[in-house]
Every structure is written in C-alpha cells, then in structure tokens.
C-alpha cells in the first residue's frame, strides 16, 4: 500500500512543486495520473520510490515512511520505468540488461537467469542484440521488461507509451495489464486518455501540484469540472456518449452511460431496435385508423 499524507515537495527547497497531497493506493490497484505538463505527476512518481523526499508530510510504503528507507531497499519493492528508456539501459546486450536488475540489488544467480530467459521468451527479444541499436518501441519494451523481470510489488511508469506507435503501445500496455492481473500495483502517468480508459481502474487528476479529482476512471473522466481544470479530453467513446447523453431527446440512458466501444455498440443497437419497434407500433396504429379515415 502506498500512502501520501499531506505531502508537499520541492526541488530547490523554496518553490513548492507539490502542495498538501493526500492519497492512498491499495495493493493491486491500477491508477493513472493525468494532467498538464508541469502539474507535478513525475514528482509524485519520484516521491513514491524515494528518489525525492517530501519537504513536509509523509510518503508511506506498506506503512514505512520513505525517509526511513534507502533507495536500494525501495528498489526491491518498487520498479520504476522512466520516460526515457535510454537513461536506464546501460548494458551491452539485451540479456545482460535484463540481468542487471538482479545484480544491481545483489540477487544474481541461477534463479535470476531463469527469470531472464523466461522474459526473453515471453517478449520475443533477441538475447544477444545490442540494446541501443533496437528501435524506440523495442527499447521501451526492454526497459519495461528489465523492471518487471524481478516481479516487483509495485510498478511505477512515467509516460510508458509516449512516442510509441499504436502496436508498440498495445504491447507495452498488455505487459503492464498482465502484471496487474498477477497482483502487482500499477501506478502510471499517461497523457493518452484512450489508454487510460482501456486499462486504468482509477484516475487521479492533477493541476499545479494539487489533486483536483480522484476516483473510478469513468467517473473522473465524465466530470466537466475536472476535465476543464486538468485540461483533459475524455476517450472518444465517452465524449460521444456525454454529447448524446446531454440531450435526453437524442439518446436513451444506455448510450449516455457507454464508456467502451462494446457498450456503445450495444446501446446503439438497443436504441435502433427500440426505434424500429416504435415505428412498427406507429404503422400498426395508422393501419388501424385507416378504415375510419376512409369513411
């Protein structure tokens, strides 16, 4: 469990970058942080793994304040993927890069090698390839793999999909989704609300170092006040649903609630068959009236 208690943070000791933030992330949650650039999302991520210590308040990992932990101790529990994979990759081959996560914390050995081999198999990496010669998406995937190969309890991802094409993005997010399904807590910063809508169960919207909203993904992404203050655009389906739902004459309540393509398709289909039934009823009524009109 991750707990922020009235946390304020600053880089230079003067200008506060985070102001009085309180939140709790239970084990197994999948949380996305959203908000404009400079809102303090990356700073929040740094606080979670103790790279940055709060200037006031407390950040607790399983009840222990990060100020009482060494960063290497936190590293065993919390895997951290930085936005730029090139800052993380430092080994000459893919295999060594994956192993480095273990050796860095002194856990190398046959078990580690077995985990690495399984990971290479699962992601389809070329074990002997030079990491810096891989393309951007594969490097990102490698950086992610070398974090999750140690199966940390918590993974923190700072903009894991920025700069990736659709297929690469889906690959990264599927790996993250599997990890979460296996029980890991996932905390990510993401600008792509389609990705957030597809994967996150909870959204925390930030602006200027404060949390403006926190709740289930589609509750947050449907509050006009939140969207305006954090400058967010909801996923397209949600947006369409909100537009249609805003005018009761336009749509049924099912459409107004739809947040996924399937829900929207089902709602539209229901609406269409409802319309067809209404038309049939009308025709039947007209047919019944016709003889009277003919008199």
């Amino acid at each position: 469990m991750i707990e922020f208690r009235n946390v304020s943070a600053s880089y230079d000791g003067e200008l506060p970058v985070l102001r009085d933030v309180s939140l709790t992330i239970p084990d197994g949650d999948f949380v996305a942080f959203a908000g404009t650039n400079g809102a303090g999302k990356s700073t929040t991520m740094r606080l979670i793994n103790g790279l940055l210590k709060p200037t006031s308040g407390e950040v607790l990992l399983d009840g222990v304040p990060t100020t009482a932990l060494r960063t290497s101790e936190v590293a065993r529990k919390v895997g951290f993927l930085f936005q730029n994979p090139d800052r993380q990759i430092c080994q000459p081959t893919v295999r060594e890069e994956l192993l480095f996560g273990f050796t860095a914390v002194g856990e190398g050995g046959p078990d580690a090698e077995a985990c690495v081999d399984a990971m290479i198999e699962a992601f389809g990496f070329d074990a002997d390839a030079e990491p810096f010669l891989l393309n951007r998406g594969t490097r990102q995937l490698l950086a992610l793999a070398s974090i999750i190969v140690r199966e940390p309890d918590v993974v923190v991802l700072d903009e894991p999909t920025t700069g990736l094409d659709y297929r690469e993005c889906a690959k990264v997010m599927e790996a993250v989704g599997r990890l979460n399904a296996a029980g890991a807590t996932v905390v990510m910063v993401c600008h792509d609300m389609e990705v957030v809508g597809d994967y996150a169960r909870r959204v925390i919207a930030m602006t200027a170092g404060t949390v403006v909203d926190d709740g289930p993904t589609f509750k947050v992404l449907r509050r006009p006040e939140t969207l305006r203050r954090a400058h967010l655009l909801p996923p397209q389906v949600t947006e369409v649903s909100m537009l249609l739902g805003a005018d009761p004459a336009l749509a049924g309540t099912a459409v107004a609630r739809a947040d996924t393509l399937d829900e929207m398709a089902a709602a539209v289909a229901a609406l269409a068959s409802e319309a067809a039934r209404a038309a049939a009823r009308e025709r039947a009524a007209l047919g019944a009236c016709a003889p009277m009109g003919g008199e």
């Binding site: 880089y11 230079d12 793994n49 790279l51 060494r70 960063t71 290497s72 590293a75 065993r76 951290f80 930085f82 730029n84 090139d86 800052r87 993380q88 990759i89 430092c90 080994q91 000459p92 480095f100 996560g101 860095a104 914390v105 810096f132 974090i147």
Partner: protein, 256 residues
C-alpha cells in the same frame, strides 16, 4: 533554475560589457596569474575575482566554482607538497622532505588556479553564448564554424550534466547505490558512460544536421545583424587588466 555555466540574465556592468572585451580581460587576468608566483598578488587577484562576481550578484556561483577548482587542484597541490623539498624541514620523507617551501608551493598552486579560473567561468555566467560567438566572429574575425564549435561545446556541458544526473537517477531507482568508496563509485559509474555517450552522440548528430539544413555553411561575419561596439568602459577594463598583467611581470622581473 539556472544550471552550471548557464547564462544568468542581468543588467550589471559586467553583463553590459562587450563580449570580446570580457573574454580578453579574463584571459589577461589568467595569464597574469601565471607570470608571477607572488602569493600576495595571487590572493589579490582572488579578491578582485570575488569583487567582480559580487558586482554582478554572482557571489554564490563564484564561491561554488572556487571551491570546485580548489578541490580539483588539491590533487596537484598534494603532489607538489610531496615532491618539492624546499625551505625549513617540517617532515622527513623517504625520498626527501616536506618543508615550508613545499607548503608554499602547494598553496600557490591552489590559489593560482582559483584566481585564473574564476574570471573565465564568470564570463560564461554573464555573457550569452550567441553574443560571444557573434562578437568573436565580427570583431576577432574568428571563422564562424570555430566560434560555433566552442559555444555549442560550452552550451552542451549543462545538458550533459543533466543527462548524467538523469542516468544516475534511473540506475538508483533500480537499486544501484552510488555511495561508498571512490573505487566502488567509479566501478558503478563506468558502465553509465555508455548511455551518456549514446545520448551525446545522438544530440550532437541531430544538432549538426539541424545546423546544416538551416544554412550553417552560408554564414559569414556579415550575417549577424547585431553589432558589438567597444565602449569607453570596455577600453577602461582592458587597460586595468593590462595594468594587472604589467604588475605581475614587474613582480617576477624584480624576483619577488
């Protein structure tokens, strides 16, 4: 937040001086420091450096620089201390001795390096790199490609430092501990040179391409719009620095 060697905007006299005059003054002061070993003179230059830094509210940066240069030159000073057997014997060594003269030589190295380095670095803080490059091209007729090479190298120093900090942060997050003995730190940091090198080469390569496509080759001394006239204060500053240099030469000629 301004970083290492990054321009800090301001309106002080030093800020407004001609870029080339500033650089020339700094160079003359540095040369003066190597013309004499007179400790009083060198300390005087350090005081002058700090006064100059204070005049453009750069005292904090100047002190930081002085400390860094002093730490760096401490190694040289130590060598001098152990290998210059001069003056009254203070401590015998298997190959000679440490004397009062050895201590003086060590102190002289530190003070001299601080005195000559601070003005050069100060120039970077009070001059915009573009101005320095353009003025060098216009006034000193330095070919633009050399001026550009120089300024972009200086410009990239904070960028590289920022990269290195980011890389170390990323490794720290993976559990690497960068504390402990110097040897251990060195061993841990050595592999990080690979990502640093990769990001540097990527950056310089794209900077070169960007310069090329924007007509870098076509640029001449006449291309700059801004002119850099020498004002009376620039001549006065140059004259003052030449006087300091003359004093240094006189001191060494008199054997003081």
């Amino acid at each position: 937040m301004a970083g290492f060697l990054e321009y800090v905007p301001g309106e002080s006299l030093l800020h407004r001086m001609n870029p080339v005059a500033k650089l020339a003054c700094a160079l003359i002061l540095s040369v003066a420091c190597f013309c004499t070993g007179n400790l009083v003179f060198l300390l005087g230059v350090v005081v002058l450096d700090l006064a100059l830094a204070a005049s453009c509210s750069m005292t904090r940066q100047a002190l930081g620089l002085a400390r860094a240069v002093a730490a760096f030159s401490a190694v040289l000073a130590l060598i001098a201390l152990l290998t210059t057997p001069e003056g009254a014997v203070l401590a015998p060594l298997p190959w000679g001795y440490v004397g009062t003269g050895s201590v003086l030589a060590a102190v002289r190295i530190i003070v001299r390096l601080v005195a000559c380095a601070v003005p050069l670095f100060l120039v970077m803080y009070v001059t915009q790199m573009n101005d320095l490059a353009n003025a060098l091209v216009k006034m000193a007729h330095v070919p633009y490609r050399y001026a550009f090479t120089f300024t972009s190298t200086v410009h990239f120093i904070p960028v590289f430092m920022n990269d290195m900090a980011g890389i170390m942060e990323a490794q720290t997050a993976r559990g690497v501990e960068f504390d402990g003995s110097f040897a251990k730190r060195l061993r841990l940091m050595a592999p990080l040179c690979v990502p640093l090198l990769v990001s540097s080469v990527r950056k310089t390569n794209s900077a070169a391409i960007a310069a090329e496509v924007r007509g870098f080759n076509l640029r001449t001394a006449a291309s700059g719009y801004k002119t850099y006239p020498m004002a009376a204060r620039d001549w006065a500053a140059l004259a003052a620095c030449v006087l300091v240099l003359a004093a240094a030469i006189a001191l060494s000629a008199l054997g003081m």
